[in-house]
Amino acid sequence: MTDQNSEELKNEDFDMSIFDDDMDDDIINQVDDHLANVHLQTPERPFKKSLISAPPEDDQVFLLRLFYQRFFPYKTYFNWLNYGLDISKNFTHREFSFTLPSDIYIRYNSFANIDVMKKEIERLQPIKIDIGAVYTVKPKDKKTVNEKVFKPLEKELVFDIDMTDYDEIRTCCSGGDICNKCWTFMTIAIKVIDAALREDFGFKHLLWVYSGRRGVHCWVSDERARKLDNESRKAIVGFLEVIKGGAEVSRKVKLPYILHPSLNRSLEIVKMYFGSLVLGEQEVLDTPESWNKVLDFINDADIKNDLNDQWNESPSRSGIDKWQDLRNELERKKRPDRESVARDLIFQYTYPRLDDKVSVQINHLLKSPFCVHPKTQRVCVPINPEVCEKFDPLAVPTLSKLSEELNTYDAKDHNDSDRKIPDYKKTSLRPYIEIFEKFVNNLIIEKQREKRDDAQTSMEF
């Protein structure tokens, strides 16, 4: 198996763009051939089930092992990807990719059932797991068939929203950092995209997941979504996307005077946050450097000069007042598009920024929920979109925290039944797993309903 893998790594014309970019700055694309050939067998560390001696803080390897052994929700995970309780191609023909320490990537893994997968995860201790598409042939058998025969069949419709795409409009942090101030951008993104996917496209089974550090992912798991071809995915992204243009473009939003009903809905959502987030917390109009970016959007030298003079004279003027100045100025100058300009500005500073590469290609790999981010040690937990404004990324449990909580629980005196509850219920991971379970249950219920309906119609006649 390892031979095949290292072969893979040498010969494959690696399209790295299909990997989720979250780890980009961490990992250098170097393959350690020697290590890839080594049969990975780390010795089992013995530990008692009930009392774990407090591990050294930086023993991340141990903590990860603990996580995979005690916390990863294998059964529910299986029920999700299998889309049914009886084993099907949805699971057996699904590609998983593992990232191991020392930057070893292993692609085209597939498993006959969840137990086999669990064993492999526990053996390899991947620091990242990616989920790929369901293929015509079991991915692990890829080398045994003609390449023309190996094709992707289905995959969830996915979205990746990364905070680094907001660097040009956020003033509090940049790069890999996040705080509660800029996290609101993610809240807005979730609300806008979630509403559009449900109301416009009719999708029902959406799993929103924290990416572990600075973004969110969305897994649309409706059957209709999984069967979409690349062209439809591209169309959906085109429909949702509003911000277009690279670094050299100041005005990245140019929408028609009358908005499409979907954008109207999105506008109502983003407007709620513009004042408090953009003008308030992000202080976008508080410094010349920042407010000039806004003025460049308008692309009018007169207006820019006038406002610059005004604002330089009274620098402590509030953001909201300055915004009013801007609107008055547009009014005064009788800009024919003054309504759209102001509205488009709001969009540029709040609307979700998507990474289209991730969504368009059916065979694109995306980090799995319930991975652990190697830099932050936080678990990639699901987010409930209905109350996403309450989600706090800095409060997401880390591996150390989970291990501590488990210790604390087990150290207390419990009766037998309490001790037998699943480990995640003893920790702060519980509410997140419950979101996941609810999501999967809905899928199962729907599937069962379909089966019943089919059975009924076939009996009727």
Binding site: D200, F201, G202, E231, A235, I236, F239, H260, S262
Partner: protein, 494 residues
């Protein structure tokens, strides 16, 4: 000429997609069978059983001409009036298809030919992924072109005859959604909301699964709710096109699977095999030009001035190495024959070119072959010069060879440097390289012609090169015309 009947088995229906669509048409034009009520056709059902072998072949070739014209016209002109003119000309000549309004008496004949030729080409082009993709692209373009020509009523009638899985939006629902639908059309109706609402009231809307109209979704051109897109009649073309493409694509796949199992009596197979390799132009062949006017000593200059890249490349190698291998001798030698080099001159030319060989050696090894080309030895067949298709897809050059088509066989780097060495501007080089990357070798060669003959202005725009001698003759003709004009000008001045 005896009319040969094909056998009773309808090969077309054996090879089409098993699920036949019921095609419903209200009886439009009198006298025409219902399947030909419109000149548009989704080609869901195969043509009626009996056609002659002749019809089989000629109809196919005619349609092929049209499709090829479509391809080159669209590559060069995108969608302007130039494009329309070229396509119209080709259609008029090979595949006329008059509308119901035209009152022409040949409607049935024309539509039947259209129907049959499509199906023959389906058989010919289903064999491989590439061929299928090409055929699909051109047929879609042709359908689109024709659909756009129809009147609104004709379009409506045709679309409703297709019986696709769309439902019409009822009045009640439309009223409920009036403002939302209006918001999506306002860019067409002009800025007033009232005008938009009126437009919506008067328009028929269809409810369609959003997957069927990806282009409209991408542009946010239609209202969607719960996965259904509300598409106005005026956007029909988009949906119809997608349906057409989907159907034809599925049919081609089914045909390719059925093809090996088709019963065949060896009359059709050779025709099908060769259809896409058919060169439909002039045959620079055996009988003409052999008794030529070109002398061995003229060759250098003629090649420098008028030869296509493949030939000038071989000529340069011949001069440099004082030798040319067999593939090159064939390709280049026959080219020279076609431009008018007689066998005697040819012998002199090659003898003087192979300076390092002794008379004896030349006599023994090469002169027989040269005479063979002119039909003076062996089976006495005077060979035709190779056309582009043959050069591109035939015997590829290996190490030490210089024959083939530079646009096809040179590496990208070599081709680029060769183009630059011909003193072609960067813009044009990039254009040509892009065409090559998309595998449009002959169009690239044609572009090369245009760029190197730009001094003749508009006249440098010629039809796509299909034969090296065509290139040569076009170049010569331009030079000749230009010098004649100059002479006239001089006369006038005097």
């Amino acid at each position: 000429m005896l009319k040969q009947k094909s056998t009773r088995i309808n090969r077309f229906s054996a090879a089409t997609n098993r699920q036949h669509q019921r095609v419903f048409v209200d009886n439009g034009v009198e006298g025409l069978p219902s399947i030909y009520a419109s000149r548009l056709n989704f080609y869901s059902t195969p043509p009626p059983a009996e056609i002659t072998i002749e019809e089989f072949e000629t109809y196919a070739l005619d349609r092929l001409q049209v499709l090829k014209t479509l391809e080159t016209a669209s590559l060069r002109n995108r969608h302007g009036p130039e494009f329309k003119k070229q396509v119209e000309q080709a259609l008029e000549k090979h595949l006329p298809l008059k509308s119901n309004q035209s009152q022409s008496r040949n409607l049935l004949e024309e539509r039947r030919k259209d129907h049959i030729s499509h199906f023959v080409l389906r058989l010919a082009y289903c064999r491989s992924e590439d061929l299928r993709a090409w055929f699909l692209r051109q047929e879609c373009a042709l359908f689109k072109y024709r659909f756009e020509q129809e009147t609104l009523d004709e379009k409506k009638r045709f679309v409703s005859s297709l019986n696709l899985s769309w439902s019409i939006v009822e009045q009640d629902e439309k009223n409920e959604l009036l403002d939302k639908l209006a918001a999506c059309t306002v860019w067409k109706a002009g800025k007033t909301a009232q005008a938009a609402r009126d437009m919506v009231r008067n328009e028929t809307y269809f409810k369609v699964d959003f997957e069927k109209v990806p282009d409209l979704i991408n542009r946010r051109a239609v209202y969607i709710a719960q996965g259904k897109a509300y598409v106005p009649m005026s956007e029909q073309i988009s949906i119809v096109m997608d349906e057409f493409r989907a159907k034809l694509s599925a049919a081609l796949e089914a045909t390719s699977k059925a093809l090996p199992r088709m019963e065949e009596d060896e009359r059709l197979k050779p025709i099908l095999m060769n259809v896409e390799k058919q060169y439909i132009g002039k045959d620079y062949g055996g009988t003409s030009a052999a008794g030529g006017t070109v002398r061995a000593s003229d060759v250098d200059q003629l090649i420098r001035q008028h030869a296509p890249l493949c030939m000038s490349n071989m000529h340069a190698s011949l001069r440099a190495d004082k030798h040319l291998r067999h593939g090159g001798r064939m390709q280049y030698g026959l080219f020279l024959k076609a431009i008018g080099l007689s066998v005697e001159e040819a012998l002199i030319f090659w003898r003087t070119a192979f300076t390092n060989h002794t008379d004896d050696k030349f006599q023994k090894e090469y002169s027989y072959n040269i005479r063979h080309n002119y039909g003076l030895e062996g089976k006495r067949v005077s060979y035709s010069a190779y056309n582009c298709m043959k050069i591109i897809s035939g015997n590829p050059p290996s190490t030490g060879d210089h024959h083939g088509c530079p646009f096809r066989h040179f590496s990208q780097g070599s081709l680029e440097s060769k183009l630059y060495s011909e003193r072609i501007g960067t813009v044009y080089v990039n254009e040509i390289m892009n065409l090559v990357r998309d595998r449009h070798y002959q169009v690239a060669c044609t572009r090369f012609f245009e760029v190197t003959h730009s001094q003749y202005g508009e006249n440098s725009k010629i039809d796509t090169i299909e034969h090296p001698n065509q290139y040569y003759e076009a170049s010569k003709r331009l030079a000749k015309e230009s010098s004649e004009n100059n002479e006239e000008a001089m006369d006038v001045d005097r």
